[in-house]
């Protein structure tokens, strides 16, 4: 299988993620859009690994998945803390990092 369609698909998924990231105001939905973008980056890495025929391109997605897991955990903890103090998930509402 050629890798060009994979790159195109990854670009499409990344674009969808960007649209979701910029359009949503719900913090959890923004987190989901970020996960979508990270996935498309992984797809690009693996397409390049297939084209080059070595295992280096498979290592980067592993570390990307680790970073994505850490990001999801911290992000959801922040969302919970935000919801406790403001009773909303709208990211336009908080204007300060105080309290």
């Amino acid at each position: 299988m050629s890798t060009t369609p994979v790159y195109l698909l990854a670009a499409l998924l990344f674009g969808l993620g960007v649209i979701g990231f910029l359009r949503q105001r719900n913090a959890v939905m923004i987190l989901m859009a970020v996960e979508l973008m990270l996935n498309s980056a992984n797809l690009t890495f693996l397409g390049a690994a297939r084209a080059r025929g070595d295992v280096d391109g498979s290592m980067m997605p592993l570390f990307l998945i680790v970073v994505a897991a850490a990001e999801a955990a911290v992000g959801l903890a922040l969302i919970l803390a935000l919801f406790r103090s403001r009773r909303t998930l709208d990211i336009e509402v908080p204007r300060s990092l105080r309290d």
Binding site: L13, L22, R23, Q24, V28, N39, L46, F63, A77, L80
Partner: protein
């Protein structure tokens, strides 16, 4: 031919579920549609010969991160406000147009080390090679160990951030 059919199947699954996930009104539906996207991408990993990554994707993304997101959704009510699409698309066109022009010029100027499709090596199991790479001192041993430190820090940090504030007299605030 068969690989094209399966590629189109997984690509359609990924893109279709991504569209549902972005434009459905209910956030819970969006989360479950994201599950379809992650599964489609895992199938594409498998087609690209990355068997280990495909299993990791299903285990960590679908099993871990998505469940975490669902917990986040269940613990907080959603408010369905979103920005208007035209405004967002205008901003993307402005920024992405310049970036696309830059990338187009750059891709013409650089030499790509890519084999033509008919010379690609057949996919073989990558688990052994990934495991050896992760534990070789001159390769990925240090990032591998640092990843565990990052995960531990994220775990402790998220528990610290999300904990209930407990006052000195013992009652939860």
């Amino acid at each position: 031919m068969a690989s094209w059919i399966s590629f189109l199947f997984f690509a359609g699954l990924a893109v279709g579920c991504a569209l549902i996930s972005l434009f459905h009104r209910s956030v819970v539906h969006s989360a479950f549609a994201l599950l379809g996207t992650l599964m489609g991408v895992a199938g594409l990993y498998l087609m690209l010969g990355a068997d280990y990554l495909a299993v990791t994707q299903v285990l960590i993304y679908a099993g871990g991160i998505l469940v975490l997101i669902l917990f986040g959704l269940m613990l907080t009510p959603g408010d369905p406000t979103e920005l208007r699409l035209a405004r967002v698309l205008g901003g993307i066109a402005l920024i992405g147009g310049g970036g696309a022009l830059f990338l187009f010029k750059m891709s013409g100027a650089s030499r790509w080390h890519a084999a033509p499709p008919d010379q690609l090596a057949p996919p073989d199991p990558t688990v052994t090679r990934i495991g050896l790479e992760l534990l070789r001192q001159d390769r990925f041993l240090l990032p591998f160990e640092l990843a565990s430190v990052i995960l531990l820090a994220a775990l402790v940090g998220s528990v610290f951030i999300a904990r209930r504030r407990v006052q000195r007299d013992g009652g939860a605030a």
